[in-house]
């Protein structure tokens, strides 16, 4: 199934006829789209249309039923794909007993760190100055989300998979997400972002994937 002459820089995401079925019921139909480097793609759809499922397939947590998805030219979940990808799901994966600062250091230990970034400065940028040493468990819903965003922004990944990054955030938080996305795209990164359309990223969206239930 691989191209005979792969292009020198494979696209971050390349999806051809992708179908996911759960117990022989189709969750989302055949999808075709490509996310190029430096662009943001939105996944829109109503509740239950399969946005979370699509992101999990592309991350390599679920296996597609038909069609093909390529992440940086490799299969989702392969070593090459994982090396360039960072995701943020409904669950944030923060350890409640550690502080935001410790959580960031852990993420950098496992994923590596973008050069020139500093965890403490990042905590300030997401609006958590003064909370760096409280256990994450005691933070409010929105403060936890901000910690996860800080971790995401520190990692050297070129592709972001974000599932409802706006949920639980206030207006400053929404602006923060949009700012981070714009910076990421400007630096040549790309992202796949789900949203309900009520709040979302608008400037420079390269493509919108609409899912219907």
């Amino acid at each position: 199934m691989m191209n005979a002459f792969p292009d020198p820089q494979p696209a971050p995401i390349d999806v051809r006829g992708l179908v996911y079925e759960r117990r022989d019921e189709r969750v989302f139909g055949p999808l075709d789209f490509t996310v190029e480097a430096g662009t943001i793609a939105l996944v829109e759809g109503d509740n239950g249309s399969g946005k979370t499922t699509l992101l999990r397939v592309i991350a390599g947590l679920l296996r597609a039923s038909a069609g093909e998805a390529r992440v940086f030219g490799s299969a989702p979940g392969s070593d090459e794909a994982r090396a360039g990808t960072a995701s943020l799901g409904h669950l944030l994966g923060l350890k409640g007993d550690l502080t935001p600062r410790e959580n960031l250091h852990l993420g950098m230990g496992l994923y590596g760190c973008k050069s020139g970034e500093d965890p403490d400065a990042m905590l300030c940028r997401v609006g958590l100055e003064g909370f760096g040493d409280e256990p994450v468990r005691t933070l409010s819903a929105g403060q936890k989300k901000r910690t996860a965003l800080a971790r995401l922004a520190l990692l050297p990944a070129r592709l972001w998979l974000l599932d409802e990054p706006y949920a639980n955030l206030d207006r400053h938080g929404i602006a923060l997400v949009n700012h981070l996305l714009a910076l990421h795209a400007a630096a040549g990164g790309s992202a796949l972002v789900t949203s309900h359309g009520a709040v979302s990223f608008h400037q420079g969206v390269a493509c919108t994937i609409r899912l219907t239930p």
């Binding site: 609006g127 100055e129 003064g130 400053h172």
Partner: protein, 59 residues
Amino acid sequence: MARFLAMGGYAVFVWPAYAVFLLVLAADVIATVLRRRRVLRELRSRIARQGRRRGSVSP
């Protein structure tokens, strides 16, 4: 003195008993002293941090 320390042959039982008594209670006191220091240190850094947080309220 040696006879006193020998405790009529029961030294291995008597002296450890007294030692345990004194050591456990000493540990209780020392633990509290250390905790007091730790609490004071935490309080001090907390007060400093709060000053900072109050100084930098977001818009």
